[in-house]
Point group: C2
Chain length 431, copies 2
């Protein structure tokens, strides 16, 4: 953990060092991924079954018939879940749905004084594939965060893939898929699942876009199939930035810093405060809380290697620092938190006031928890309904409006050396 | 050019062949591009000046002071342009601006029955870099199509880079930049320009996102810097699909097919019609028009290698074919063109009726001419104001609403093995 202070003479350098810290562990799996994709393209189900039975240890009897997870298996999983968890998922799904419904974009059409009609029409993607990791990173909340906006967008076919290493699958993941309205589920993972979604096999129809988190193999495969299909962002390690003043509760702030740090040893938790007392109290509170946290090993490593406490003179000084960090999650626990939030340009999601811990947003707040990491909030947004729709523009000229606009188009076409463009207009005007 | 007919027994295969035709010429420049980017990162202006003077043949005296194109040079360029072309550009800029203003998204905020306030805020990117190719592909219309939406979005700093091979620069490109409100212009191109925009040098501040077309070097560089900055789509060769019935004018259709074909030998022009007579007449009209077209060599190669005429029984049969092609440009010159257009899901831009040649949309229609190619209209949209903005979600709980939602968040956190998440909520509720 680093402690830096805007009053230090070398503050600019220390802050820049914090910004450029490399947290991604890049595994070079690109060659292997290329081979797997080529195999699935060439041999379809046969390759898919072979890779799945080998990587997930499903035995020699695994076959194409078992790729799809049937409705009976889903129903059994829902039965097996604690009712309390199902109820919590249902509440989360409803709130996520309500929030995302407001994101549905409007079509537009207007006819101008010349008689030109121009506008656009939004349509849902025809199909989407949702990747869900296996093992401990198999989060039912992420199933909701990816599938619910797709359903709200109106995507008619939502496919989910999830690997079942040693045949084990978190039943809550199936319950979440059921609640979110996923149409098809396949027990596959890794680069082979991404290839199947992008190119299709006898059992799995291809999709138009692939979303969802995954390990290095999945990320490399998504990069490779991009163009053939759409992909969402490639997410890096999670991060939180907390702005808090001297009135904030140090134990609450410490809990939030550790909630982020427990994700991953490469996660990052940063506190910016104008209070030396709070800085000191939070540091002690983190140490205290670590003594009883189940994932303390992970959280301690993250806090040690990437954590930071930054002291500033006042929060006006903090705003440009926030914009340079462009945090995935920004908690503001200061006086006039909302006013301060309006000065921030770059952040994935903002959590206002001391009663809005980031974890509420991970589950039941309503906004999406799939957010831009690694400073990409400077140029991108969290997942939403627009990621599952696309816009087609529409233009219609009357003979009269073509006569009005045509000469300018002809001039510009000729000035660009594109006589064929000019002629396609001129021929309609007898010019 | 291929002629296929939905009545042919092998239609499915012929159509699939048309869909999977590979039109991209992939030059392998990735290693060279990696070296150039590393050089610019390590040596800044020095590397930028060296590459620019060498690749663009600007002589040994070229220096960092000359990288920026000054206001005087821009003013002189505007003076040097034909007034008619300036007027046409001005009309185009105004119409593009009006169309894109309607795309500005609304912020949202709502407080629910529990007292949770949730919403989002759109903000403009802090800076954008616009790549403009040199030589014959240096299109002033593309400057407008990229820069005007950025200005409408409210981007406070718009930077343009354009190479000047042998010191030559199309004055209309500078005039378009001036009209569109570009703030800074640099005479650089290639991978070195992309690197300078992404990482910055002493002369050029880095930007948050890079947009605009370019050759294989530029495309490879954009792929490499993605993540450090945002990028737009990587555009492939242009394409048009025309739906026309027996009432359409074959000479007009031929002109539109050739306007597309003259772009590039890898461009693609396709006609779908229910009329054998029209199919035949268009084929002849294309041959006639080619005899006098200045860029006939390019257009003829494109039409020969990638052109197609598809006969269908009726236009209902055409709709799923259109959706599978997912054309960049779709012209509909049939009876009830608008009704037919509403059945189409996948297209970048639609041009309705016989008086809306695609070239009008390239210049003065209003909608953007930067559109998804190579079937990517299945999952992406043309350029617009949203490409220059990003959304920050905002969540605020009161103590009471945290009490209402908290237990579900605690349940889900624990079910995902994230006790630290659960505790960050529980600690605020004394649970």
């Amino acid at each position: 953990m680093v402690r830096i202070d805007s009053r230090d003479p070398d503050f600019a350098q220390s802050f820049a060092r914090l910004l450029t810290m490399k947290r991604e562990i890049s595994e070079d799996v690109d060659d292997a991924v290329r081979r797997i994709i080529a195999d699935v393209v060439a041999k379809g189900d046969e390759a898919l079954v072979e890779y799945t039975s080998r990587f997930d240890r499903l035995g020699a009897s695994f076959s194409a018939e078992r790729l799809r997870i049937g409705a009976d298996e889903v129903a059994a999983a829902v039965e097996a879940c604690p009712p309390e968890a199902i109820e919590a998922l249902r509440l989360a799904a409803e709130r996520i749905e309500t929030f995302h419904r407001a994101q549905k974009p409007a079509d537009h059409k207007a006819t101008d004084a010349l008689g030109v009609t121009a506008g656009w029409r939004w349509t849902a993607l025809e199909s989407v594939g949702l990747y869900v990791p296996g093992g401990t990173a198999s989060y039912p909340s992420s199933v909701l965060m990816n599938a619910v906006p797709a359903r709200v967008a109106g995507v008619p076919r939502i496919v989910m893939v999830v690997p079942t290493p040693d045949g084990i699958l978190n039943p809550l993941v199936l319950a979440a898929a059921h609640l979110a309205g996923v149409d098809e589920i396949y027990r596959i993972g890794g680069a082979q699942a991404v290839a199947a979604l992008a190119y299709g096999t006898a059992t799995i129809e291809p999709v138009a876009k692939i979303v969802g988190p995954g390990n290095a193999w999945v990320a490399a495969a998504k990069r490779r199939v991009f163009g053939q299909v759409g992909i969402d962002m490639i997410a890096g390690p999670s991060e939180v930035l907390i702005l808090a003043d001297g009135e904030a509760n140090p134990d609450w702030i410490a809990a939030d810093l550790l909630a982020q740090a427990e994700h991953d040893t490469a996660a990052q938790s940063v506190l910016i405060t104008d209070s030396g007392d709070l800085a000191e109290a939070v540091e002690k509170a983190v140490e205290r809380a670590l003594t009883t946290l189940p994932r303390a090993d992970i959280a301690r490593a993250s806090w040690r290697d990437y954590g930071a406490i930054i002291r500033v003179r006042d929060f006006d000084e903090a705003v440009p620092l926030v914009d340079r960090i462009a945090p995935e999650h920004l908690e503001i626990e200061t006086k006039d938190a909302e006013t301060l939030s309006l000065k921030v340009r770059n952040a994935g999601a903002i959590f206002l006031g001391s009663h809005t811990p980031e974890a509420i947003g991970d589950y039941v707040g309503g906004p999406n928890h799939v957010l831009p990491t690694a400073r990409s909030a400077r140029f991108s947004s969290g997942l939403g309904v627009l990621d599952f729709m696309k816009r087609t523009t529409v233009l219609a000229c009357t003979p009269e409006s073509l006569r009005a606009l045509g000469p300018a188009a002809i001039t510009l076409g000729r000035s660009e050396g594109l006589e064929g463009h000019a002629r396609s207009v001129a021929i309609r005007l007898n010019l």
